[in-house]
């Protein structure tokens, strides 16, 4: 029995990395998938097309929509397309992120605005536009955060936006409770995806972390699927940390064999 059969899930920024893993896991759980990516014509579009083929290969329906969540009109079109193709939405995964990698004190005004526009405003635009659809389905919203929301990372201003969104998650969980919409977040540790490539450039010793402390995209995706299913019905407004224990201990000794 597929737990998410006949559900429709939209994952923002799902051509690559964690978003891609979540889309595949949701499809495996039975959901039809809306794949969103920001930039037309590049490698993201190619990966989005590939993902759609995979989803369809599993016997689900897939819809690919290019949209920049930082632009409100673009978000409106995204949800209009979802409504037109599927007529419903049950699951909204807020995964898309985009940020300059620089210390906060060095950000130009333009970069600051871009940071807030994509990672804060953009996510809220998505929540607002998704509401009418989610209200009908008693839907789920899951925001993808990272440990940058609570720990220092060099050159990672995105962390401050993740922290802001974890607060929005709590607020919306209460605000949307009457509408039967659940809102939660998954906060990932260090995942070896695209943003790790950036981290690696500014944080030289990161390669010294024991391999066992890196999180796989699938490990995050499994918790997202759990939050989208009925087994998580008692959880609301929470941010669940999935980091292999990285944030629990200050000191890490070399692993014994």
């Amino acid at each position: 029995m597929l737990p998410l059969k006949d559900k429709v899930a939209l994952i923002t920024g799902s051509s690559r990395g964690i978003g891609n893993a979540i889309a595949r896991k949701l499809a495996l759980a039975g959901a039809d998938i809306v794949v969103n990516f920001r930039k037309a014509g590049g490698s993201s579009q190619e990966q989005a097309e590939q993902l759609c083929r995979e989803v369809e290969g599993m016997g689900r329906r897939a819809l690919m929509v290019q949209a920049d969540i930082a632009v409100k009109d673009s978000v409106k079109k995204l949800f209009a397309e979802v409504n037109e193709k599927f007529g419903r939405l049950d699951i909204l995964i807020l995964n898309a992120a985009k940020a300059p990698f620089k210390p906060i004190e060095k950000l130009f005004e333009r970069e600051l605005r871009q940071l807030v526009e994509t990672n804060y405003l953009g996510n809220i635009f998505c929540i607002q536009e998704a509401l009418p659809l989610l209200e009908r389905s008693g839907g789920k919203i899951v925001f993808i955060s990272s440990l940058g929301s609570r720990f220092y990372n060099p050159a990672y201003p995105l962390g401050s936006m993740k922290a802001a969104m974890e607060s929005v998650v709590r607020d919306c969980a209460e605000g949307l409770r009457q509408k039967n919409i659940s809102v939660n977040a998954v906060c990932g540790g260090i995942v070896k995806t695209d943003s790790f490539k950036v981290l690696r450039q500014f944080w030289e010793n990161i390669d010294m972390l024991p391999e066992s402390l890196f999180v796989e995209p699938d490990e995050l995706a499994d918790v997202v699927v759990f939050l989208c299913g009925k087994e998580s019905r008692g959880i609301t407004g929470q941010t669940i940390v999935v980091d292999k224990g990285l944030s629990n201990a200050i000191c890490r000794l070399p692993e014994s064999k």
Partner: protein, 187 residues
């Protein structure tokens, strides 16, 4: 410091390898004039991957920030890009010095998002060559001046075996900008 231990051909070869691995591109399609974005569909994140592979291969640090960002950091926000993210005439002047007068697309008012498309395989190779050219005369560890390379990629001290210590890409861009400013007084 001029050195011929690593040739431009070798750098181009390593770049091709990095591009093939990152973009799964056809090696035969990568020519010096190939735009990684326009011709091969690369995105900004892909450059990180390609840069990382080049860094691992040569033991260097590529620039983290592009020339435009350095201009604004050194001469103030608004000097390279206006509030709409479009190139100022001064930015165009600097970029023409760096990439050659004949980059036809370069004009004031051009959107900053279009700039990365101007990056070609050859300009990546030149970036790496600039860093390799910063090989110091003498080994920083033992003071000998007998660099050698067994594979034509990694350079090490012939005396103590220490890996070559090159300047990083950002420092080289800043030094270059300082020199351009001294000569042309653009800002």
């Amino acid at each position: 410091m001029g050195q011929n231990l690593v040739t431009e051909e070798k750098v181009f070869g390593e770049l091709k390898k990095a591009v093939v691995e990152t973009l799964r591109a056809d090696e035969n399609k990568i020519k010096p004039e190939t735009s990684l974005i326009k011709d091969l569909g690369a995105e900004s994140l892909d450059f990180l991957d390609i840069n990382y592979r080049l860094e691992q291969a040569f033991g260097i640090k590529m620039a983290r920030h592009f020339v435009l960002e350095h201009i604004e950091e050194m001469y103030g926000e608004g000097t390279a890009l206006d509030e709409n993210g479009q190139l100022t005439d001064k930015a165009v002047a600097v970029l023409k010095i760096r990439f050659g007068e004949n980059v036809a697309e370069l004009k004031p008012g051009m959107d900053m998002d279009e700039i990365p498309a101007l990056v070609t395989a050859q300009s990546m190779v030149s970036g790496v060559m600039d860093i390799l050219d910063s090989l110091p005369e003498k080994c920083t560890k033992c003071g000998a001046s007998s660099w050698k390379s067994e594979d034509g990629v990694k350079v090490k001290c012939g005396s103590c075996g220490e890996a070559a210590e090159y300047s990083n890409g950002d420092d080289l861009i800043k030094a270059w900008l300082t020199k351009v400013q001294e000569e042309k007084k653009l800002f």
